[in-house]
Symmetry: C2
Subunit: 339 residues, 2 copies
């Protein structure tokens, strides 16, 4: 069984995205947002069958851990009163996808974070999504300001309430920013990768996992710059008088395989233990074209993983075992179905 | 001949650093800064001989392109009237090192950038350093705000005056931020690497080199996350309808080898043309310890380059030829000495 840990609903029905525009316009004009539109099952079915489901089948994966479009989370747009209904609408749409394709998709929620706001609304939404909708994790943004980086580091006590709830519910978070409101940062080319790198270094600097030994965080996009600079991070941990990264960070932190070329994937497997790597494609995501050097889609990451020369045991971990371990609620759901 | 393109004077005499503290304290208190202290040649000689020169010899390099301590540039501290005398003091100290060890060190200057200020003072200081002090390049920070990222992208017209001066003087810049005033970003573990990644993506998004075909920029720390995510950047260029990176960016942009483990260096050479890679160590820099996995210093990058299996021709480019091409004033100085 092959589980893609990183898929986004980037192909939502138009009415959903249009409502967001109306919602933000209403906020700016001090009006009430219009009611959320009716979206038929057929529209949702079509948007999935023609995109994620088709690609999943063509590429040979079985299941996607599926979350709302990351670039549209937009925590920095409007305020918390805007972020809450938007997050609910996005998460409810994911729940409908899961309801229509329960064998193929499992839900992960976006959180109604908002710059400067506390995490109460995020905790409530996480609980709703896990307990009522059957989701198995969440996306947590280390920078709800959208590229201004005004939030405290992920090791700060500010974040502890959501970590406590995650541990209580036994769900992990993928550390994932949304779009960039800062012209210095291209969203998928700079902001995403920087956030991955930044989050990892925050974990190196802090001692978060000493206090939260059961917390699990997935850093997407192959861990940002981290595997490429693995020597730097091992050296910085040493200079900061921290334990080796294997003990200090890597019991709790996992990387996906959203690295869009063979040399990158090969490096990832060369330096990071296979127990810390979850297959992911970010599909349908940041890069949708075909690599002229290979003739295959850049984001068909399964090809790279298949060509990385993993042992059968390691491949089983990367494709399935690690995801079931990091997302135990998914594991339980699969077991209950005899998978 | 082996040229290290990335060395910093991190081991300055104490009096220099103390003056900086006095200067900033005076700024905060609205006082005049005290006069810059007398520092003897012996102090400078000792600080170099015991550190950079010793390590250079132990590790087998011949020459370092040498600039002030990057983390101390501190463009965000004080204002432009603080940044100008501080930059002059730092650059004058580099000039004294070069004067004492002319066979081993060649100067690169820091610029008196300041958040929100124009680049007139930076242009004047660049000209002074190149014309009067014989420097061969500069460090240019894409984020003088120190982690707030308030400056426009490097492709913005804001930067054009300094690029024009660089082209006129035939000197390159290393794109290098200073320390981080943002608690989200560890300086050497996140801010530096993020800046490298961010700058590269700005170049992908823009069309800077169409207008400045002779501009040359070195992105340090192995290009941040870029080589690891080379497929992503090739794919993003394609999605942005840009020419291939080889034509769009890589005629003008170079990466150094400040990547502190063998797998990272191997990846760098696997994906980036050897004509775009300059040997560098960032020494004495971010990571000063010994890698327990190898028994050698993390930042002894020559070992990794030597073990990367380069052809003799490629090694000659990386160790020397590319540096002489990117820094033509260095080449001319070396030729005039028959080297």
């Amino acid at each position: 069984m092959i589980i893609d840990c990183h898929g986004h609903y980037t192909t939502v029905p138009t009415a959903h995205t249009e409502w967001r525009h109306h919602q933000l316009a209403a906020f700016l004009e001090g009006r009430q947002a219009p009611p959320y539109p009716a979206i038929s099952d057929d529209e949702i079915r079509e948007s999935i069958e023609q995109n994620q489901l088709r690609l999943l089948r063509e590429r040979g994966a079985d299941m996607t851990i599926f979350s709302p479009r990351a670039s549209a989370m937009g925590h920095h747009e409007g305020d918390e009163r805007v972020s809450v209904p938007w997050s609910r609408a996005c998460n409810d749409l994911i729940a409908r996808v899961v309801g229509l394709f329960p064998e193929t998709f499992v839900g992960v929620c976006q959180l109604p974070q908002s710059p400067g706001a506390d995490l109460k609304a995020s905790i409530a939404e996480l609980e709703r999504c896990v307990v009522e909708l059957g989701f198995v994790g969440c996306n947590l943004s280390p920078d709800p300001s959208g590229g201004k980086w005004t939030a405290p580091p992920l090791t700060d006590q500010y974040w502890y309430p959501i970590y406590e709830k995650m541990v209580e519910l036994d769900v992990p978070a993928m550390v994932h920013v949304s779009s960039s409101a800062n012209p210095a940062f291209h969203a998928t080319g700079a902001h995403y990768i920087n956030a991955d790198t930044t989050a990892f270094m925050q974990f190196v600097q802090g001692d978060l996992f000493a206090g939260f030994p059961d917390l699990r965080l997935v850093i997407p996009h192959g861990g940002g710059a981290v595997p490429y600079h693995w020597g730097r991070y091992r050296g910085l941990a040493d200079m900061l008088n921290k334990p080796p990264l294997s003990a200090h960070v890597m019991k709790n932190v996992f990387f996906d395989t959203c690295v869009y070329h063979q040399p990158g994937i090969d490096l990832l497997f060369r330096v990071i233990d296979s127990g810390n790597i979850l297959f992911g494609s970010e599909m349908v995501g940041a890069v949708r074209g075909i690599d002229p050097e290979t003739g295959h889609f850049f984001d068909d990451t399964k090809r790279y993983v298949d060509a990385a020369g993993l042992s059968e045991a390691d491949a089983a971990k990367v494709y399935c075992g690690n995801a079931r371990r990091v997302y135990p609620r998914l594991d339980r759901a699969l077991r209950s179905r005899g998978r």
